[in-house]
Symmetry: C2
Subunit: 395 residues, 2 copies
């Protein structure tokens, strides 16, 4: 009943806007399917019209890996459907697979990109997902900014800058969190996949976090911006020696180019006590290197889903990294940093690297806070970690 | 050869980042296809791996309507492919259709949304598309801003605000262009589909247009923002009487809420000589109504792909609209406006409404500039119109 009502409304809409958007109307009429449909009891139904298909599967990030796809059932009209009953409220993504071809859900206009792959997205409302929902209070602003990067020999690079609620109305200055993405990501990742701006709005409105500026850079030193904005600078085609995990060029550019730009173009408080940095995976390694090579820049560090690798991989040299830690950790200890936070899930494929990092740090009597969770190397963890890390800053 | 080389590089990448992004690697290995491939001679090849499919078609916006899809050919591996030879350089979008199911191109991470439909996108480089390419000069900034809208009884609504290059470095004030989308669109349309920020960067760098602020609002008065950011406020589900084309609530909110917000939060020049408004389709009608009901606010008007309808449709009452024009046009003439520009394509389904509008305006001896092009009711026209309208402003 409910579904029919919505379909009827969509048909009304098709007639309504149809001639206004001629390209849209045909697709509306062909495809008046509601998917995903979020039911009031918390279950979720997915649908796709595919009369000629023999097999339709759904891969969702709530499943145990992308291999454990679930088959949809076909009715007499060729409409395929399946319902999930017990999902925890969260920000989810999924793809469909129709006769072996990966596709987004054609009925769902919310599409997100992770590395080079595109997914359909939805938020299942509920207590657990409140922190990523649009806040009812005044929201912060997100700027897409180009800044010069002499350190990387680029006239301009792109970043996203979050300004807290009331930034415009006030004349206060704010501390700054530098928020780094993982391998294959870019400056869009933390807003698109991480919903970082919404998380910050909610934390600030509930007084859990101090109002702060959040700077989301592009951590690939050979890329001006996300690949389709500045084509021809695709980190996919980088050699190992140019790779962001093999060089410290990004880290140097953050300190030399980004921080001065932020502090001269925004009302940012200066000094290490007003700067924090955190990142996931590759960004967690960049955070470690920043702490070791630039110990006078930040007072707060968050290393998410990354430790010290025991054997070289991913263009990271294990020996070099361990040596850097052993050689520079005393300078970091002497710097008077306020927080060194490490978070990882027990199913993360880098969990062992975190164990090794803790061994190394313990061997140096280095003070850190360790947060162990369930889960793996996934964005639901990194959203959670941001929601736990930000409230510890600048207090 | 070239294609194999790229595929090899992608495999290297998969191994490289694979363990870093476990969800990504499987899809890379399953799908190391380059699509679209832009060849140096200007031709474009599209590919999709679909061994089980009997039919794969492509619908591109360079074709004569969405019905004239082109079939791809299948090779022995199940890879489908087709090449187009003579495309004019432009910003294109397309979808694939695999055995009757509409899908984006799974190899192309650039995805855009028009109304509720999702498309794969690419730019074919060349002289004709230079105006939508990333500029090499310093680029302007795009802000995603929430502003209060008492006129619409909303605590906050979202808009995008473009600031010209050098805004931060200078202390100048700038004139403002208010840029309105069409029916079913929202505040993301002009940047995502229109690439308005790039067009403005290029026009400003070449000294064709004055540096200006460009404000891209959400023209649906019942919607706080694009539907997936603020769900539950979907213009799809509006009744006729609430529809943005049937009310003047948005137009009033633009004048009462948006303009004061922009002029107090940005270095915006004030006064009608420093304000322009233009929009396409529904936004063209909103522009007309702004000119008739608020003739003291703007000096520059651009009406794209919209005229005066002869018969009521799309929740617009033809009689009311004509009466409004007849009653208020003298006030508009007396306002001393500097430019009233009307642009339409001869294949636009609203072309006749533009003819009627010209008859009505001519009957009042009303001064306007008429720009007739080929083409229809499509974004390639509106990008072109912006590139022609903006240079005429504030001079």
């Amino acid at each position: 009943m409910k579904s029919n009502k919505i379909i009827k409304k969509l048909f009304l809409f098709a007639g309504f806007f149809g001639l206004m958007a001629a390209s849209a109307v045909a697709q509306f009429q062909q495809n008046p399917i509601i998917s995903p449909e979020l039911h009031e009891n918390g279950s979720v139904t997915f649908r796709i019209m595919a009369p000629a298909a023999d097999s339709v599967k759904i891969n969702g990030n709530w499943m145990q890996g992308w291999g454990s796809a679930v088959h949809l059932s076909k009715n007499d009209d060729g409409l395929w459907e399946t319902t999930f009953e017990d999902l925890t409220p969260d920000y989810y993504n999924y793809t469909l697979n129709v006769n072996g071809v990966r596709t987004i859900d054609p009925s769902n206009p919310w599409v997100i990109r992770d590395v080079r792959n595109v997914f359909s997205a939805f938020i299942l409302p509920g207590e657990e997902s409140e922190f990523v929902q649009l806040s009812e209070g005044e929201n912060g602003t997100v700027h897409e900014v180009w800044y010069p990067s002499p350190t990387l020999d680029m006239e301009q690079r792109r970043m996203r800058v979050y300004l807290p609620p009331n930034y415009n109305e006030s004349d206060e200055s704010y501390p700054v969190l530098y928020l780094l993405h993982g391998g294959g990501g870019d400056e869009n990742a933390w807003t698109e996949l991480g919903l970082a701006n919404r998380i910050m709005d909610n934390l600030i409105h509930s007084d859990e976090a101090e109002p702060m500026i959040v700077v989301m850079t592009n951590g690939n030193p050979n890329q001006e911006s996300t690949w389709h904005v500045a084509p021809g600078h695709d980190p996919v085609h980088e050699s190992d020696s140019q790779n962001p995990m093999a060089t410290e060029r990004f880290e140097d550019s953050l300190v030399n180019d980004v921080i001065p730009f932020i502090e001269s173009n925004y009302r940012a408080k200066t000094g290490k006590e007003n700067r924090a940095v955190t990142g996931l995976s590759m960004g967690g390694w960049q955070t470690q290197k920043l702490s070791l090579k630039h110990p006078d820049v930040f007072d707060y560090y968050g290393v998410m889903s990354m430790g010290i690798i025991r054997e070289s991989q991913f263009a990271m040299n294990a020996q070099t990294h361990l040596e850097l830690t052993n050689q520079n950790i005393d300078a970091l200890k002497d710097s008077g940093y306020k927080l060194y936070w490490i978070a990882c899930g027990t199913n993360d494929f880098l969990f062992d690297s975190v164990n090794f990092m803790r061994e190394v740090l313990d061997g140096h009597d280095f003070d850190y806070v360790y947060r162990e969770t369930g889960g793996g190397h996934t964005w639901d963890r990194w959203r959670l970690y941001l929601s736990e890390f930000a409230p510890m800053l600048f207090k």
